[in-house]
């Protein structure tokens, strides 16, 4: 079962297609069918239950808030990568782009004022994405290589701007936007991440632009031959990725109360892990933003759960790697589609 079909939300086939009636699939085949959504959910439940049992402090307000904070940043960062992966590419520059945005917002917040600074930072993120997209599509350089190079370029740029040190600011705007709570117990940053997931899930499933994204990822040639403007879909997806990465950078700087050099970079692998664990295939055309939210939750809960149960940092790395591989092995129905192209 592919997740690009909104089976749950749609009415049953009116009149039904030919061979009449759905087959009475038994529970087991249903499980097999929906396993790519079930595996991350089951993983989540098991993780929460396990860490909760090991240390009761895990299920506490403090711990929840900590998880929400981490989740906010990682989800948004992973969202940025999700779209490029959906069209069958990959964006390795999302984290470096977020770092640059984090530095720039800290630099510009006091001098330009909140709204202008945020808009400018989002614009820079979008331009970086556009550059990625133009090089990948017009010069036909694989997105893997373009964004690998871009990652290095962006790291250089943001370190030049920050002179390699933290950038501080006085404005309280980011603190309000990211750390304060409009809903009790939920930091605004996490709320924003959640809203973005909903907005983008609607975008990919209930707009023709979203369908075109899946079409390009599923079979680019067929998409072109059935009238999809492949080039503009690809370019816009790279731009979108850049803008969302900038949002992630702003959240990070808000949480740290300072612009951190290389702040988001270490999270690149976590964000890709979140995407893949959620069930978005690197081959494109399968998955979606809602899956990325699940994946990010698994990664964050795993990390903070191990922190709270005092698992050593080296062991944590090993466990995380094993979980990513196991999740992917269980999730993707490889008889049907390859994980990578």
């Amino acid at each position: 079962m592919t997740m690009n079909s909104l089976d749950v939300l749609s009415p049953p086939a009116a009149g039904g297609p030919q061979s009449g009636g759905r087959s009475r699939a038994n529970a087991l085949t249903y499980l097999a069918r929906y396993r790519n959504i079930l595996v991350p959910i089951v993983a989540l439940v098991v993780l929460v239950a396990y860490f909760g049992a090991r240390n009761s402090a895990f299920i506490s307000t403090g711990s929840a808030q900590n998880i929400e904070r981490q989740m906010a940043f990682l989800t948004v960062l992973a969202l940025a990568g999700t779209f490029v992966i959906l069209i069958g590419g990959i964006d390795l520059s999302v984290a470096a782009n977020a770092t640059l945005a984090g530095i720039l917002i800290a630099k510009w917040l006091d001098s330009y004022g909140g709204v202008v600074a945020i808009l400018l930072v989002l614009l820079v993120g979008g331009l970086v994405g556009l550059a990625n997209g133009l090089i990948a599509t017009l010069l036909k350089v694989p997105s893997f290589l373009v964004t690998l190079g871009m990652m290095s370029v962006l790291d250089g740029v943001s370190n030049t701007i920050s002179h390699g040190g933290p950038v501080s600011y006085n404005s309280g705007l980011l603190n309000t936007l990211v750390n304060k709570s409009s809903i009790r117990g939920v930091p605004n940053g996490a709320l924003l991440a959640f809203v973005l997931v909903i907005v983008f899930t609607v975008l990919v499933f209930v707009t023709s632009y979203g369908r075109h994204i899946y079409a390009v990822g599923g079979n680019e040639r067929a998409a072109r031959l059935s009238g999809v403007r492949v080039l503009s879909v690809k370019l816009s997806v790279f731009v979108l990725s850049g803008v969302i990465a900038a949002v992630a950078g702003i959240i990070l700087t808000g949480q740290a109360s300072t612009g951190v050099p290389l702040g988001a970079d270490p999270s690149l692998l976590n964000s890709i892990a979140a995407i893949v664990v959620g069930g978005t295939a690197l081959s494109g055309g399968v998955g979606g933003p809602h899956r990325t939210l699940l994946g990010a939750l698994v990664i964050v809960i795993l990390g903070s759960g191990m922190d709270i149960t005092a698992v050593g940092p080296y062991t944590q790395l090993i466990v995380k790697g094993v979980v990513v591989i196991a999740a992917v092995a269980l999730t993707i129905d490889r008889r049907r589609y390859g994980l990578i192209k």
Binding site: T2, P17, T207, G218, L225
Partner: protein, 508 residues
């Protein structure tokens, strides 16, 4: 080394699903002989060459080389027995040099003094000289060569392999001249003449004059069967055409009683002077409402590319396209779709299906813009579901549910879903490239019925297909392409259908 050698095939059959590519084919070829292999597109020539060279493993049958059983389906061991092959799809390694390619995998067999590289380079140089090819250096990189030059290297490779075999070789040539100039083709022909005493050849080409000139014997294939073997002196071309085609045509199958022809004289699409360099040139073509225009031609005649250009999928180098009276200088697929010109491309898996996506998404991709609400810009999912269900029903797409990934459907049902994709829009022209490839008989009939119904409602159809029978049965008018140019235009109204020979004559 024995002076002569005989290769025999006995009772070779091969099926791909329901399609029987070869049925009980037997043949024999001796050293000193050139066997010409002829037949229509899809008669089984390439499959037979595949069996002989080991890339296709037949379902039944045996092969012997000098009364010794040969390992079918094992290209390496067959090549050691002296079978070498030149095919249309080139198999050279671009990053290696010419001499390295010529002796690839057989380096150790080249004897002589000095370092291996020098030895191979010298041997390759000698071979190229013998072929009278002086514009290819043995140590040139294959990537730097032009397409025809590569074809010559491919030929040199086959002859080199024949040279190294322990016994007189069998050299298979499948359309070897398709990429060559006349002069280069002559080089190949004289090479074949000179090698005749020490090798046998099987020569496949749609240029019948070449086959007649080179071969001593002809083998005619039709529908995977050997129809006849005959000596090639004194055979009239017409007789060959007749042998290659000659089958009964059923008028019911193609609903010829429902064939009405154009409903209006004003063309719905008109192409003038269409040229794509090296593919087709100066093609004029009109399709009127309600008319089915067939484009016939052998593989490589440019018919498929012409269809793609009409659908906006490839750009013309020169020439103009006019749709419903309006000149279209920048004709693209999105524009074509907006103008009601829809394309059903030839390769379902690579050109038209999103295999991981649901049947519903595969159908609605053709009319998402019509499902978008004007105010919210969101898709009306209920409408989408209902329309897709309705279309699937109308075209009898058999699927468990509309959410089933389309990859799980049979080829016929997939193709019907591809047709359904365009049926929600107002259709002016359907551009079809081999729409029934690999599809069962029942579904074909359904598609023919659909086409007749659309034509009756004033839709113009451009049909380009490998099957002559289909084109004659369906079309009102047939355009024949030969080497990228229109060689004939044949009327084919329901009461006066041309015979296949009439069409084939202009194709080759």
């Amino acid at each position: 080394m024995p002076a002569t050698s005989t290769v025999t095939l006995t009772g070779i059959s091969k099926s791909y699903g329901a399609v029987r590519a070869l049925r009980e084919v037997s043949l024999e070829v001796h050293t000193g002989e050139v066997l010409g292999l002829i037949g229509e597109n899809g008669a089984g020539k390439s499959t037979l060459i595949g069996v002989l060279s080991g890339t296709v493993r037949p379902d039944t049958g045996t092969m012997t080389v000098d009364d010794v059983h040969a390992p079918l389906g094992d290209p390496r061991r067959l090549s050691a027995l002296g079978v070498s092959v030149v095919v249309q799809e080139q198999a050279l390694v671009e990053s290696l040099r010419v001499y390295e390619n010529i002796y690839l995998g057989r380096e150790a067999l080249v004897r002589g003094r000095g370092l291996r590289a020098r030895r191979l380079r010298a041997a390759a140089g000698e071979l190229l000289r013998e072929m009278h090819i002086d514009d290819i250096r043995p140590d040139a990189l294959v990537a730097e060569l032009s397409y025809p030059q590569r074809q010559l290297v491919e030929i040199a490779k086959a002859f080199a392999s024949a040279q190294l075999a322990e016994r007189p070789a069998l050299i298979l040539l499948d359309e070897p001249t398709s990429a060559l100039s006349e002069h280069e083709a002559e080089l190949l022909f004289s090479l074949i003449e000179r090698w005749r005493p020490r090798a046998s050849f099987i020569y496949v080409s749609h240029i019948l004059q070449d086959v007649l000139r080179l071969s001593s014997r002809l083998l005619v294939l039709r529908d995977g069967r050997v129809i006849d073997t005959l000596p090639s002196d004194d055979v009239a071309l017409d007789r060959l055409h007749e042998l290659m085609v000659g089958r009964e045509r059923s008028t019911d199958y193609y609903r010829e009683d429902e064939q009405r022809g154009a409903v209006s004289a004003e063309p719905v699409i008109r192409v003038t002077g269409a040229t794509k360099t090296g593919v087709f040139a100066d093609v004029d073509l009109t399709v009127r409402p309600g008319e089915v225009v067939g484009v016939a031609g052998v593989v490589g005649s440019g018919k498929s590319e012409l269809a793609a250009a009409l659908a906006g999928a490839t750009r013309l180098d020169s020439g103009s396209i006019e749709v419903a009276g309006r000149h279209q200088p920048r004709w693209t697929v999105p524009l074509a779709v907006k103008s009601g010109v829809f394309y059903v491309p030839p390769e379902r898996a690579t050109d038209s299906l999103f295999t991981t996506m649901s049947v519903r998404s595969n159908i609605s991709i053709g009319f998402l813009d019509m499902l978008t609400s004007r105010w919210t810009r969101l898709l009306r999912l209920r409408d989408e579901w209902a329309t897709a269900a309705q279309l699937a029903n109308r075209l009898q797409v058999k699927t468990e549910s509309l959410s089933t990934p389309i990859g799980e459907l049979s080829g016929g049902n997939q193709q019907k879903a591809v047709f359904a994709r365009w049926m929600a829009r107002e259709c002016r022209v359907l551009v079809l490239d081999d729409p029934t490839r690999g599809i069962d008989v029942g579904t074909r009939e359904e598609i023919y019925t659909l086409l007749r119904g659309l034509a009756a409602r004033g839709v113009g159809v451009l049909l380009c297909t490998e099957s002559l029978e289909e084109i004659i049965g369906l079309a009102d008018r047939i355009l024949v392409l030969k080497d990228g140019r229109v060689s004939a235009e044949i009327a084919a109204s329901a009461t006066a259908k041309p015979s296949e020979i009439d069409v084939v004559r202009h194709m080759m």
